[in-house]
Each structure stands twice: as structure tokens, then as C-alpha cells.
Symmetry: C2
């Protein structure tokens, strides 16, 4: 069990806001599983589906950066995921316009069918007994709703990019969520597996809880490991976080 850092002295959060991709659900296994099936359908089973998943995800930050930097108007993540898919297919020398449109729609919807990490539903259910639990994800509402119903995630509310019209790590994503919840930033705790996300949340005055997900990148090192700090809480999963926050 990972330890909390002086948590007995800290203010209790009033609301817990969760990053979802990587923190609550395992995007890599789900995207690799579905992509394996779709790659077979287009007769490209020679492509490694886990690497394909990594390459799809690598386009995530650059795609959102275009919105964050106002180079294009806000669009929801479902739209970006589709564009990213077309980009990664092209990277593999596959012309997306040569693929059946319905197949591309279904492939993009692989992000709607991700599985929770094994501790997620139990951990969230325990945390919900004491704290409101909301999403603070870059995923759009329809996407988050499908992921929640698919995995049985018991959110109190689905917030995040589509509601604030801002993609993390823009400050407005965190501050806008606190404002909507009618709590001060210091009363809101971001729960995330990513140091970069937590660093931006802390810069906006939020409390921070790091969840260790060593398998998010299939065991490879996380790309944001150099942004590691001493977060208010550090947990080896959501049941561990529930223990640390007194949700027994």
C-alpha cells in the first residue's frame, strides 16, 4: 500500500473529480483488443494491435492542443478520436477513405467500450458513500456515459471538457469544474494516474491524489514521469484510495 503524505493534517476534499482514461479504465487493452478485430477485417493482422493502440493514443495531446491553443474551435473528443484514427491508419500506409464508413465509426467507438481497472467499481462505490464522485475527463458526455454504463461506474455527475468547453491541462477545465460544483478549487480533489494532469490541477489550487497504474502503457514508463511531485495522496488503486480517505 502506498502512503499518504501527512494526510491527517490536510483538509478533507468536498468533492472527488476523476480523470478516466488510464485512471479508472484501461484504454490500452481495450483499444488493442478492438483494433485487433478491425485490423483483421481490413486484412492487416500483421500490425501489432497494442502498438497500434499506443500510436493512436500518441495523437491525443497534439489533437487537443489545437483546441487549447485556439487553432480550431472546441470539438468533442469523439470527433478528435476519429481524426486521430484516420491519422494513425495513414501512418501505417492505410487509406482511411478505402475503409467502410460504418467500420470506422465502430472502430472509433472502441473508446466507448473500455473496461474498468479491476479495483475501479468497488473503489468508486466506497468513495461515493462519503464523497460526490464526478468525472473530470477530456472525454465528451456521450462517451463517458457509454463507458460508465459499460463498466458499471457509479458517477454522481459527468463533467469535464464538454461542460467547461476546455481541455485539460488548461486551467479553465479545473476551475470551471469547481465553479459548476459550487466549491472552491481547494475543496476539489483531482484523482488521476498522470503527473501532468495533477500538476496542472495543483497550479489551479486543487487537491491532488495520484493513482499508480503501472500497466497503463503495458509496463513501459509513463511519458510524464519527470513531472512527478509529492501529491496529497498517492494510492495503488481506488480501493487503496478509499482506505486512505476513510471510506471503509
Amino acid at each position: 500500500m502506498a502512503g499518504s503524505i501527512g494526510s491527517t493534517l490536510m483538509a478533507t476534499p468536498r468533492v472527488l473529480a476523476f480523470d478516466v482514461f488510464g485512471t479508472v479504465v484501461d484504454w490500452r487493452s481495450g483499444i488493442a483488443r478492438d483494433s485487433s478485430r478491425f485490423l483483421a477485417e481490413i486484412s492487416r493482422s500483421d500490425i501489432d494491435s497494442a502498438t497500434f493502440a499506443d500510436n493512436w493514443r500518441k495523437r491525443y495531446q497534439p489533437a487537443m492542443a489545437e483546441v487549447r491553443d485556439s487553432r480550431r474551435p472546441f470539438v468533442i473528443l469523439d470527433v478528435l478520436h476519429r481524426e486521430m484514427l484516420e491519422g494513425v491508419l495513414s501512418e501505417y500506409g492505410i487509406n482511411p477513405r478505402a475503409i467502410e464508413p460504418d467500420l470506422l465509426v465502430d472502430w472509433t467507438r472502441a473508446w466507448h467500450r473500455l473496461e474498468p481497472w479491476p479495483d475501479a467499481v468497488v473503489g468508486l462505490t466506497r468513495l461515493k458513500m462519503r464523497y460526490p464522485i464526478v468525472t473530470l475527463s477530456n472525454g465528451n458526455i456521450a462517451l463517458m456515459l457509454d463507458v460508465a454504463r459499460h463498466g458499471g461506474l457509479p458517477w454522481d455527475a459527468i463533467l469535464g471538457a464538454e461542460v467547461t468547453r476546455a481541455y485539460k491541462p488548461a486551467a479553465e477545465a479545473y476551475l470551471g469544474t469547481a465553479a459548476i460544483l459550487d466549491v472552491s478549487p481547494a475543496d476539489l480533489c483531482l484523482v488521476a494516474a498522470h503527473h501532468s494532469d495533477l500538476a496542472a490541477a495543483r497550479a489551479s489550487g486543487l487537491l491532488t491524489a495520484f493513482v499508480n497504474r503501472p500497466m497503463e502503457y503495458g509496463g513501459a514508463e509513463a511519458p510524464d514521469r519527470d513531472q512527478r511531485q509529492e501529491w496529497e495522496w498517492r494510492a495503488d488503486g481506488l480501493t487503496d484510495l478509499a482506505d486512505q480517505l476513510g471510506c471503509h
Copy 2:
């Protein structure tokens, strides 16, 4: 049990969106109960608290109309509820500026502490087994979140005015909610106790389910009774609706 009108021939909705005040929770009893306490605190127990609740609620449509008609920018319902409270107090000859500010804050928050109708939690839980259930309320997110946690309402997502930036019965409130859910208006069913709300939803192409709540106004006739139509479904509560929609 109220009947459905040809429901065996109708398309099944993909998502159920619920009006909340009056349809899922009993605003009148809750506001009367809390107002009775606050009226005692300001030594005005001579005022009938149920009539006070009705008079507070009467200011609801005119307050939202200012936003709908673009006479003022969008503000959340918590803000309107506070202004409406000050208005109704003035109507009773009470100067709101002579009242302790914290008491006015707490009084306004009476809307966050409303109780569900007795069939609501069981009915919603059954409906959720088969359909995504979301709010389509004029209440803001923090308000809906508190009402849900207070009463144990198992929403999949909290949508409505604050997300679409439009107050019902503006078409954008219904159409924007369908767009966010990524379903066509014809796949979305509004569940509401109010004919006026259902009429506007139908005008935007939604399916409609009427829930009979004869005690919403304490047994008095509903103000929108003349807008009654033959809705796709008509139920005597949410467990009855669950029966009619095959959620056993």
C-alpha cells in the same frame, strides 16, 4: 394504472430524460417544510408556508423567461431561486436585506434538499437497467447533484439548462440535450409531469411520457392543464412507467 397509447407500435426510446421538480421530487412539501422553519426564525410564523412555497414557485417561469427572451445573460437556477426568494419576501412586506445573509443562503438551498416522490428511486433504478437515465431539468448541476445525493437518485448523467445554456421550454434545451447524447431527437423521451414541458419536447421531435403527479400543487389543478395532449406514454408514477417500458 394509466394506459399507454399504442405503445406496442412505437419505437423504443434509446435514452430517457427526466424533468425533476414535480416529476421526480416533491418541491412543494420540501419548500413548505424548510420555509416554515425559516419563517419561524424571522418571527413570521403567521405566514402559511405552503402558500409561501406556491408563491415562490410562481416566480419560476417569469424569472427564466428573462433569460429565454435574452433580456439577461444565462444565469444558473440557484441565482434565480435566490432572487425569487427576495421577491416573494418583499411581496409579504419583509425586507430581505434585513435578514441574516447566511439564512437567505440556507433558505435558497431548500431546493437542494427536496425529497423524491415515494416511487422515484425504485422506478428510476428499474428504468436504468434498460435505459440510460439523465436529467433534463432547468436546475443547475450543483443543485441537481445535491438533490440526487440527498434522495439517492441514480442518474447516469446530469444534463439540462446549465449544459445547454438554455431553459426549457426553449427548443435548444431539448435539441441540445439530444445532440450531447449523440442520439436523434426521436430517440430521446422526455419524462415529465407537465404538459407544457412535454408539448415543447414534442415540438422538437422528442418522444413524450407524462407522469401524473396530482399532489404537485397540493391537490390544486395544474396551471398547464389546457396544454394536455395524448402523449406516447402516460403513467401514474415511475414504477408504472417502468412496467409500461418493460423494465421488470
